[in-house]
């Protein structure tokens, strides 16, 4: 009796200490979650703060006179004339009209520096789309040079950055602004063009299409192979040392740094099979090597979660093992496998290290039209822009990160949705 009393006292005494320990643990958990969330918030605020500007870009309104003589062209269907035409002369003439009386060479240079050097080609596209314009006049919003765009945005924000501009240019922009002839517009180029060294003409489309081609190949190669491997290992393979050995190695492969797969891809696909460098085929193959372990592991988990009673019932009704797997286990395991595949694809989408070795870290302007055209992918595009000296690429980089993140979020959300929607619980 006496003894048990002291025990009870002991327990009472220790109660507050144990409660305190639990309270501390809860707080540690809350602090950990808070720190994690703060990191995400800081990241997003920084990226969106830097990148939102890239979705708008400055345009100048000019009166364009499609004078055939100025361009040096009479017949729009003659490729010879088209190749020799001086398209940039169109916006230059319009600038001269807008700001008359500029004669010195230096001033002319800075005047022509107001607009993008691709502006002439944009006008060419307009003219080709509507040949009746030749010899006619039109008021057009013309894309500005990246330095002008950066200055105009910083000026609107109240912290003008004019180091790359001449004094004349600053004056001209103030004048244009007063007359409402310069404004920020939606930057459609960013979504419709490939890479460019001129920030105002650079777009994400080439990398996006490259990513889609590469990922499509990765899915086509890795999903069937991964699922077949998982089914065999789970349902058919004899349980012996070899199977264990293979299992351990698949798990190890999932933890291998991705750059190793790039080196492997370089040695096998490029140096041995002579697949061309920088194309989605080789990118897809390398990323297949990388995602296969992920898909095999998640597919096996999905197959394991199908209850044995289903298998036994099928076999009991006289189905062969092959029929049992194909008609019963596979359909029930499919949602889990798809979820695993989507997560593997999301991982592959964000990968740039293995692509470094196989030449997909490259400057590619043309938007790839197929699996064997040179291409690059979104994370590589981010890397290349982050490395470019032109200041206007800073906001482009953040904007590209936003595009990549939104794709990742969509993919992960669809994985969650699939799981919620299709998964059966027993």
């Amino acid at each position: 009796m006496n003894n048990s009393m002291t025990n009870l006292e002991k327990i009472r005494k220790s109660l507050s200490r144990r409660n305190r320990a639990e309270g501390l643990f809860r707080w540690a958990g809350r602090v950990a979650i808070f720190l994690g969330l703060m990191a995400v918030v800081v990241l997003f605020v920084d990226i969106i703060g830097k990148g939102h500007g890239a979705f708008r870009i400055a345009y100048i309104e000019l009166d364009i006179d499609y004078d055939p003589e100025k361009i040096g062209i009479e017949n729009l269907s003659d490729p010879q004339q088209l190749a020799g035409a001086d398209w940039q002369a169109l916006p230059k003439a319009a600038l001269n009209k807008q700001f008359p009386g500029i004669t010195s060479r230096g001033d002319k240079r800075s005047l022509y520096g107001l607009i993008s050097n691709g502006a002439g080609y944009d006008l060419k596209d307009r003219l080709m789309a509507n040949p009746l314009l030749l010899g006619d006049q039109e008021r057009v919003w013309i894309l500005t040079d990246d330095d002008i765009d950066t200055y105009y945005k910083s000026w609107l924000a109240g912290e003008p950055y004019a180091a790359r501009l001449s004094d004349k240019q600053v004056e001209w922009i103030a004048e244009l602004h007063e007359h409402g002839k310069i404004r920020l517009q939606f930057n459609a180029n960013f979504f419709t063009r490939g890479d460019s060294r001129e920030p105002e003409q650079a777009g994400i489309r080439g990398a996006l299409v490259g990513s889609l081609f590469t990922l499509a190949l990765t899915l086509i190669f890795s999903f069937p192979v991964g699922v077949a491997a998982a089914i065999y290992l789970e349902e058919f393979a004899p349980k012996n040392g070899w199977t264990d050995f293979i299992e351990v190695n698949i798990n190890n492969l999932a933890a291998v740094p991705s750059i190793i797969f790039g080196l492997l891809g370089l040695a096998i696909f490029i140096n041995f099979f002579h697949v061309p460098r920088s194309v989605p085929i080789v990118g897809g193959l390398v990323l297949t090597l990388m995602t296969l372990p992920t898909i095999i592991i998640s597919s096996r988990a999905a197959i394991k979660s199908v209850p044995p009673s289903i298998r036994e019932a099928a076999l009991g009704m006289g189905a062969s093992k092959y029929q049992m797997v194909l008609h019963h286990v596979l359909p029930l395991a499919m949602p889990g496998m798809l979820t695993g595949a989507i997560i593997g694809m999301a991982q592959a989408l964000g990968e740039s290290a293995p692509l470094l070795m196989i030449g997909m870290v490259a400057f590619i302007v043309d938007i790839p039209g197929g699996f064997s055209d040179p291409a690059t992918v979104l994370p590589v595009q981010i890397f290349l822009w982050a490395d470019s000296p032109e200041r206007a690429f800073i906001e482009k980089t953040s904007a590209a990160i936003m595009v990549l993140l939104s794709f990742l979020i969509v993919m992960n959300a669809s994985a969650v949705w699939l799981r919620k929607r299709l998964e059966r619980r027993w």
Binding site: R164, S278, A362, F363, D366, L384
Partner: protein, 351 residues
């Protein structure tokens, strides 16, 4: 085909597709090489593509050494057509090319790039000499006697040179894999190192010892390898006003509101001082072309013509706008002529 055979058949088909090699004649020009030349080469490629309507050349930034290795691996559509370099081809690379059947190589020098030592605009620019740079950054520096080397004892710039401010030495610079680092070692460090007579004498008798003294950078945390991303470096300099950074002139040109170049031997790094070579730390930029590929891969000649045209590499050309320092007019004219005639390099005079 019955249903039960379909799935295995598809699997077999896909795996064999994966194994099939895809070799086809190339339509796109492939360029590899220096990350310093990359920003210039890409501009030319883009202009060429847009003006000619042909596929835009594909440009990989592999570093000068990596580019040479790929370039010299062989002739054929699996190997690049052009490699960029921020230094001249080495004799060893030339013989590698020769032994792999890359016999005829056209060498084109395109211009110069200046290497700047910059700090934040919030403080005064440093008036440095190459000797100061060597003494501040070398792993071992000359001691009191000739022939004696001691571990670098200098902590502040004032320790190095009494005329400099009393600020701790903290230099952010490129890693050893970078061409910028090679050029920095060769031009700035070696330039200062040579001013010690006994070390300069060593260069004739024991070249490897000379290189070791002059090129080895201290590893006690005063020189910080800041990676290849020069934009990040500019941001770090903006945040840390005591630090100085080493990078290419084009980044200084783009960020003139944030960083300023230190004076080297009292010369400020500007477009003109690099062009007329009064600024001492500048290096030549090159590209190399495989003659055997001209006429096989379409468009190489057009690309060369674009690169060596006045509107590209001239004093008022668009490459100058991107920060490349042009060659003197007479050299440009001669090089353009030689390039047009496809004059191949002989390999004489390579180091």
């Amino acid at each position: 085909m019955t249903q039960r055979n379909i799935i295995p058949a598809i699997l077999l088909g896909l795996t064999s597709l994966a194994a099939t090699s895809v070799v086809s004649a190339r339509e796109t020009i492939e360029v590899v090489g220096s990350s310093t030349v990359y920003p210039f080469s890409t501009v030319v490629a883009e202009r060429y593509g847009r003006a000619s309507g042909k596929p835009t050349p594909k440009i990989e930034s592999t570093g000068s050494g990596g580019g040479m290795k790929l370039f010299c691996s062989g002739v054929g559509s699996n190997y690049p057509d052009i490699t960029n370099s921020s230094r001249r081809m080495k004799a060893s690379e030339f013989s590698l090319c020769q032994s792999n059947g890359v016999k005829d190589v056209i060498e084109v020098q395109i211009g110069f790039d200046g290497i700047v030592i910059a700090n934040s605009v919030a403080v005064d620019p440093l008036p440095l000499s190459r000797k100061d740079i060597f003494l501040a950054l070398a792993a071992k520096v000359p001691g009191a006697k000739d022939g004696e080397l001691i571990d670098n004892p200098y902590i502040t710039w004032r320790d190095v040179n009494a005329a400099l401010p009393n600020v701790a030495i903290e230099v952010l610079g490129p890693p050893p894999t970078s061409g910028t680092r090679d050029a920095f070692s060769e031009l700035a460090m070696e330039g200062g190192c040579k001013q010690f007579a006994w070390i300069a004498a060593l260069s004739k008798t024991n070249e490897s010892a000379f290189k070791e003294i002059c090129h080895t950078v201290r590893e006690d945390g005063r020189y910080i390898e800041a990676g290849e991303n020069d934009n990040l470096l500019v941001q770090k300099l903006e945040a840390n006003k005591a630090a100085v950074g080493v990078f290419g002139f084009s980044f200084l040109d783009q960020n003139a509101d944030k960083v300023q170049g230190s004076l080297i031997e009292s010369v400020e790094p500007t477009f003109d001082s690099i062009a007329d070579k009064t600024y001492p730390i500048s290096r030549p930029l090159y590209f190399y072309v495989k003659k055997a590929h001209i006429g096989v891969v379409p468009g190489i000649e057009g690309f060369l013509r674009e690169f060596t045209s006045e509107k590209a590499w001239g004093e008022e050309g668009y490459l100058a706008e991107k920060g490349m320092i042009p060659l003197p007019a007479d050299v440009r004219e001669q090089t353009a002529k030689d390039t047009k005639a496809l004059v191949v390099m002989t390999g004489d005079g390579l180091k």
